[in-house]
Amino acid sequence: MSARRLVVVGASLAGLRAVEAARKDGFDGRITLVGAEPHLPYDRPPLSKQFLEEIGADGTPPTFRTEEVLRTDLGVELLLGTPATFLDTRNRAVGVGERTIGYDALVIATGATARQLPGMQGLDGVHTLRTLDDAVAIRRALDKGARTVVVGAGFIGAETAAAARKRGLDVVVVEAQPTPLVRAVGETMGGALASLHLRHGTDLRCGVSVIALEGEGRVERVRLSDGTALDADLVVVGAGAVPATDWLAGSGLTLDNGVVCDETLFTGAEDVYAAGDVARWHNPLFDRPMRLEHWTSAAEQGDLAARNALNPAAARGYSTVPYFWSDQYDTRIQFVGIPDADEIAVVDGDIERDHQCVALYRADNRLVGALAVNRPTEIMKYRGLITRGASWADGLTFAQTRRKARDTADA
């Protein structure tokens, strides 16, 4: 291990795991962690869940490590509150504010940025939900009993709506597509999941888009394409995220919906690796490039990217069955694998009837995905099957065995 200075750009989960892995691996050189936000690394999933639900709670941020642990125990130099501005691979340097810092090994973990709606800048009461500051602002508005409009019925939008309902607030969710969550879980199951909103009193309007956000300095109304105007004190925009690669323009790295990497997370520039939401790497398990915005892969890639960057000769590949979860209205939704399927079969339960189900996803003859709604004991067994390359027939047989076992136990 010859590198003397590891620089990690991006101080969220992947960046944190990168610096921790470097130390675990025995690296005793200098480590610098660069973060655009002023906060210590914190956990994002709770921001759209528990963090929004508790009325008037003190709002302790879900910080991963104290400053003392990072600086003293891990010996990490923290450069927080200033985004990186450029990467110069020839001179092995990163620009951070006015400074230029050199690296021997570099991990890019700048994540993704929430997509904005046109016309939302400069209007108070309109927020995306990606950062701690976003979540604090949204929670304050909910504390005041805001009439809430959520734009986008994806997971962030759905979780935000669920939090507002839990507080007893009225909430309208506006979704431009005819069915929510199509990209995440496919059309059939997206439609079934939409029933959760209706059951919990959320006013979901699909196939309608936002024409304008209106108000004097502060949002007052949301005007929709069907001519409706919704009164609103708070608008939360959940319109997805884009990889944070602007600062890499001109760096020579290949940027195409993220930083393009090989299966070892190597970017093609010497000693530069990428991890987390910003990385689009080749996943050998599905033999295709993927960019995931999931907790699990961000953590695992951060860890591996640092180890590979510090020891490129022994670089290992990263292969995974993607996993994400969402908590909405006391319902846990879990998905493993990929949703682009030739066929989706509900093998157990029914969301609308039983408030729970298991669905399997087939591509060619292979089991490629599984969705579990309120069936936490099932999901990881399918992750195991997909990891082992199970056929569709294997998946169906396994599902049948599970059903039978449960019926016997219930009888």
């Binding site: 956990d43 999933p45 907790w295 699990t296 953590a299 695992e300 860890d303 069955v321 996993y323 979860w325 846990r332 879990q334 493993v336 069936r375 936490p376 004991t377 999901i379 990881m380 067994k381 992750r383 195991g384 990891t387």
Partner: protein, 63 residues
């Protein structure tokens, strides 16, 4: 080595089960069940991965 679960932190996300199925299983109520109190022979690295992979940092090993 003994496996310890912090029940206050665990939310049953199941990543541990997918990494070390001989040691962990989430039940139908979403609670984590330890299939064994100690690390099953030959699975220490899987269990260590499961501990590192826990999003709520609810798992640890004790000698």
């Amino acid at each position: 080595m003994k496996i310890i679960v912090d029940r206050a932190k665990c939310t049953g996300l199941g990543i541990c089960e997918s990494l070390a199925p001989d040691a962990f299983e989430v039940n139908d109520d979403g609670e984590l069940v330890l299939k064994t109190e100690t690390v099953p022979p030959g699975t220490l690295s899987d269990v260590e991965e499961a501990i590192a992979g826990c999003p709520t940092e609810a798992l640890r090993l004790e000698p």
